[in-house]
Subunit: 710 residues, 2 copies
């Protein structure tokens, strides 16, 4: 993972809006990539000038062919390279000499094929870098820009998509072919369609940054196998969402270890742990999709209609059963069925037949005419209690499917509230579905998917309402002390810190280490115990011991002066009996905590996601229920609160069964401090506070045990 | 819910295989139900004789019309009634007089419209009953039998489906129209297609019983809004599955309270609690589907290919990205990627290009020819480590889609292992998809759905392997004693049993009530305490007190003779101070249990599902995690074990964090006894053992508190 400067808007814009294109390495053999690309640019109506380059041909597709790029007399804005991998670097060198600043390298045979390919990819990158060339690829399907200003299909896809406001960005080229076909069948259009392959130069973050400001793009879809720089990816996603309100939908492959290893053999991609990925996406406001169908189901809800203001929906159907199924699914997805106003009820009663159900879900019944649909939909959308409408049609023998579709579209077009439709079936309803799709009414073959899509859109509305306040930096963290402790350990070649070092680091961070002191005499122990306040715990301190309890080196629950004296002597006696001379570094006297709730707070540095903070309740909750939450540092203030409340066992902290609520605020502070520590000291590979004991509200929490690995 | 005799096979068979049909109430008005039905029977190739009946017409569709059913000279096997609801009873009366024994009542306007309709429905039922007529409906779309022997489309659906081995049975008529359209688009055929509407006579249980023995039906699909008799439904489903290995797939509406109330307004159906429904289905081996698409995705996996022997799959793809996505989903669904044998690896290496990935998932790469697919699929299916294969295709520019489909089908047809396919995209791949569907290769637009469907089929394989041993009746239950206690309470008009009565009933069932006795003197108390063994608990017994602890009526943890004496006196003193004279019925001396794990065992009688047994861990597990399991009584032996192990907190009972495992067997016995009690005494509406304290393995469990409501 290399941290480099993001590409500027201009650098990417040049690739998508070239006034001239050289297709370097094209040929005459129909059905091969080098030929298909040229044909596609030509036949799909490119608005600029095309220069085919091939040393052996005079003309291809009726165009004059140039031997080499440098032979072209005019300026070339974009080179599309389709030469075999083994000679690509030569073509790139020539492009550089010609002064070309943008390329799309289609050719395969690079990193994805193993070490020699990786070398070739590096070489190409170096040459491009030397000449300041920005490029997409290699090993990609190419790029498409539907903007009529340029109309460029610089890809070997079978088809050029319609214009639209969805951008699709994919790490897999083959998936693009399936997506284009799928989208065409549903009249889904695209603003930009980008296969970026091995991303040797331009990566998904550059592309996201560009699409952020692309006025033609309203929704961004990504298929990813691995993420180049998770922190940057999260940041740019968050920026897009908060600044431009464009939803970012991601289909991430490699959810399972098996999938990840398949991905690795596919592009050498390193897939991260799935739960962490899930958390990171949620934190960044990214919408994660399970499959391509879901991704487009969601995308059209975003692309075609305004965002919903709320989750109160009206359902209009000509069939009871599907009405019930839709209601079920809507409610399971967290939507609410609107209670109609009196006026709406009156309108429906007046205009619908007696057998109709005028309550929500409205059943306009089997013989419903287009007008009946129109009346019901209008009434619902005019009701202040309704924030969106879902229309269902089943193809009954008397149903005029096309006219119903026409009525729905015309009502929907005049409303600022989202209208979604599900014409159930396939060929019988096709004529209506086609009309709806052309009119940009989000249509779903199944009402269940309609509900999911709307729930997703509503979720995004709520996401946009969320505040994201950065946690202010804690000025009271003694960074110098932490630095010093870490450096000492590293200098000594140690990766495990001692208990004392660990606690000292936590103290330097003002994390609530239990009041404690290391003493070297009995009188000192008694003094410290009195100072801390009974009850206390005493433990032998020695680098030689791992299991202190086993050798009698720990006494718990010391509640009086006399007990303390006895405990001191006992520990020393036991330690001297089992340890070599001089091995006892002292005795630790520590506050004994009562019946606080044990929680775990941890930091792990993930190779892909970076500093991951983990939170959960101790013991059974983590071990049996795996009930933990993750966030990537740095955390937002609101995210910290969410991280605590989203675990299923949160009610235990909030207070159940007559128990008092715990001091959740004190945990929040710990998470915020841990986040800062994680960012400031990348040497810390792992840090566990386990348990962190949380007292009643207002009484704080205490680190009872901790561990740091460098 | 009425418990009546199930329809015989012959009674239902008459409806589906009539040699002659009277369409009673048909007319000439095209586009109306009475006319559409006649036309459908006629045009879709019915093999028998059709008699239109209408008092006002001479001929319809070229057929001679009879004024009344009784006017028909010949025998009529089936009457299809399409008269308005208000006159249906007259038509039924005439059918009875004519000696017709089978009817389908299409007409709407009955129970679904409110009380007058309900009366009409009753009347029709009574007349039919008088003449011994079996009938489907009213308020339905009709029935279809694709068997070439009869070829009957006695419905007002827009289309007749293809022949096939899937039976579809639906409570909603409108949903049928959508399903027929959907299925036609995918070349899915049906054996029987049945809309049963209000089920005034024949219900889903009769139909299941019939389909069990229908040789043309291999898979049974049901859409239900409510279930007529859950016990019978579960029993017939279980019988079908175990005797005939036909999977039963159910889409049940009314999952949420809102959906249930919509269903109620739709057919007056009463939907039960969803978790209980879920449990009941699982217990019966029924496959529950979330939506129509999922139902058919699963159905074709069952209908077209042999059941998988295991879950080890091979994936063959021409695109890396989709291969990764499929691997992910497969693994998440519990499938395993086969490790290829050396021979397979050799074959693949020899026949695939160097750039291909010969490990599973096999990537035959973008330019794959049909032969390459064929070689890879054959090699995989011949490998003993492979139990099924999934083939993925993306429409790349050089892909010969139709030929790949042809190769796949021909390889699949010669294998006993399931082969599933996903040609990703839509119109570009349509030609291949069409071929696969016609050749009965289960095809899925998305690989994700392919994995889900296969996982479902594999789940069914496992279900078939399960044993179902009935729990033997316990002969040691003192039913007479239970009967006597219940009768006494009921005679006194009480619905809450006293603690003593409750515990006596549990004892009569040999449920492990804590050793205890009610005493009336201090010396007796001391004697009993010594007999039970210290530590003990003492509680005042009185019908006047609800909260015994509050008034000092309970003393816990009495560990010695002297303490017992003191406790007795204290309780009596406190009770006398706060209760009216003569209100103290005695003192309860009970064993005090140690640190056993608290569980909850309960019985609730659900209006729809009958006796529901609930199990969960006490306290936080139930309250916070809602971590409970349900079964409907009677329970099978294996089901009892499952019921305990399926809760998420089971590890707590199995022994975590160094704790010893608990006596799970003793809980099993309690569940089995509770199941018998539930069946023998329907008066018991609710019974809670909370907590049931479970000791270490081998040491049993004890009911510490219980409650019975009649």
């Amino acid at each position: 993972m290399s941290f480099r400067k993001m590409k500027t808007r201009e650098e990417i814009e040049r690739i998508f809006y070239p006034a001239s294109i050289a297709v370097v390495g094209t040929n005459k053999v129909k059905g091969t990539v080098p030929c298909d690309i040229l044909e596609n640019i030509l036949k799909d109506g490119y608005q600029g000038i095309i220069y085919p380059v091939n040393p052996k041909e005079r003309s291809i597709c009726g165009l004059r062919v140039y031997k080499y790029v440098i032979d072209i007399e005019d300026q070339v804005d974009l080179a599309v390279i389709v030469y075999p991998a083994s000679v690509c670097h030569l073509a790139v060198e020539q492009c550089g000499q010609k002064g070309i600043k943008s390329m799309v390298i289609i050719s395969a045979g690079f990193r994805e094929t193993g070490p020699p390919g990786t070398e070739r990819e590096k070489l190409v990158g170096q040459i491009a870098n030397k000449y300041g060339i920005s490029f997409i690829g290699p090993n990609c399907l190419g790029i498409i820009n539907t903007d009529p200003l340029v109309r460029m299909n610089a890809s070997f896809a079978r088809r050029m998509p319609d214009e639209g406001n969805i951008a699709f960005v994919s790490q897999s080229g083959a998936l693009c072919t399936a997506v284009l076909d799928y989208a065409a069948s549903k009249h889904i259009g695209f603003s930009k369609f980008i296969s970026f392959g091995n991303k040797a130069e331009i990566n998904e973050i550059d592309l996201l940054n560009y699409l952020k400001d692309d006025p033609l793009t309203k929704v961004i879809l990504l298929y990813l196998e691995e993420i180049s720089d998770v922190q940057a990816f999260m940041e740019i996603s968050r920026t897009i969402i908060s600044q431009t309100r464009k939803p970012v939908l991601v289909l991430k492959a490699g959810r399972t270890p098996e999938g990840a290893s398949a991905a690795a053999s596919h592009t050498g991609a390193l897939a991260g742990k799935d739960e962490i990925c899930e958390a990171a996406f949620r934190q960044a406001g990214i919408i994660r999709c399970d499959d391509i169908e879901q991704m487009f189901n969601y995308a059209i809800a975003f692309a075609y209609r305004p965002l919903p203001k709320g989750n109160h929906i009206a359902i209009i159907t000509n069939a009871g059963g599907p009405g019930v199924l839709t209601t079920d699914m809507a409610v399971r997805m967290g939507l609410k069925l609107s209670e109609f106003s009196e006026e709406t009820t009156r309108t429906l009663k007046k205009n619908l037949p007696a057998a109709a159900n005028i309550k929500n879900p409205v059943d306009v019944i089997g013989d419903a005419s287009p007008e009946r649909y129109s009346v019901a939909l209008n009434a619902a959308l005019n009701d202040d209690n309704v924030e969106a409408a879902m229309v269902i049609l089943t193809p009954q023998s008397m149903t005029d499917i096309k006219s119903v579709a026409r009525e729905i579209s015309s009502v929907a077009e005049n409303s600022v509230k989202p209208v979604l439709a599900s014409f159930m079936g396939a060929s019988d309803v096709a004529i209506g579905v086609d009309l709806l799709q052309k009119k940009n009414i989000p249509h779903y073959q199944l009402p269940e998917n309609m509900c999911r899509a709307f729930a997703c859109a509503y979720g995004f509305t709520k996401e946009l309402e969320k505040k994201h306040t950065p946690v202010p930096r804690f000025a009271d963290i003694d960074s110098a002390a932490v630095r010093c402790l870490l450096d000492e350990a590293l200098a000594a070649g140690r990766h495990y810190l001692t208990e004392t070092e660990t606690l000292n680091i936590l103290e330097a961070c003002r994390l609530p280490v239990l009041p404690r002191a290391v003493v070297s005499s009995c009188s000192e122990a008694l003094y410290v115990a009195a100072d801390i306040g009974y009850p206390v715990v005493m433990k032998v301190v020695s680098d030689f011991i791992v299991h202190k309890s086993d050798m009698g080196g720990v006494v718990l629950n010391i509640s009086r002066h006399e007990e303390a004296e006895e405990a001191y002597k006992k520990i020393i006696r036991n330690a001297e009996a089992s340890l070599p001379k001089g091995a006892i570094a002292g005795l630790l006297v520590e506050k004994m905590v009562g019946d606080g709730q044990e929680v775990i707070l941890g930091l792990k540095r993930d190779p892909q996601f970076g500093p991951v903070i983990m939170f959960g309740l101790g013991g059974i909750y983590v071990e049996v229920f795996k009930d933990v939450s993750f966030r990537i540092a740095p955390v937002w203030k609101e995210s910290v609160r969410e991280m605590i409340t989203e675990i299923r066992s949160f009610p235990v902290l909030a207070g159940v069964r007559g128990k008092k609520p715990r001091d959740v605020e004190s945990i929040e502070t710990c998470i915020e401090r841990l986040s800062q520590l994680a960012l400031d000291f990348p040497e810390i590979k792992e840090l566990d506070m386990n348990p962190l004991i949380v007292e009643e509200k207002g009484k704080g929490c205490f680190v009872a045990d901790a561990r740091i690995i460098l």
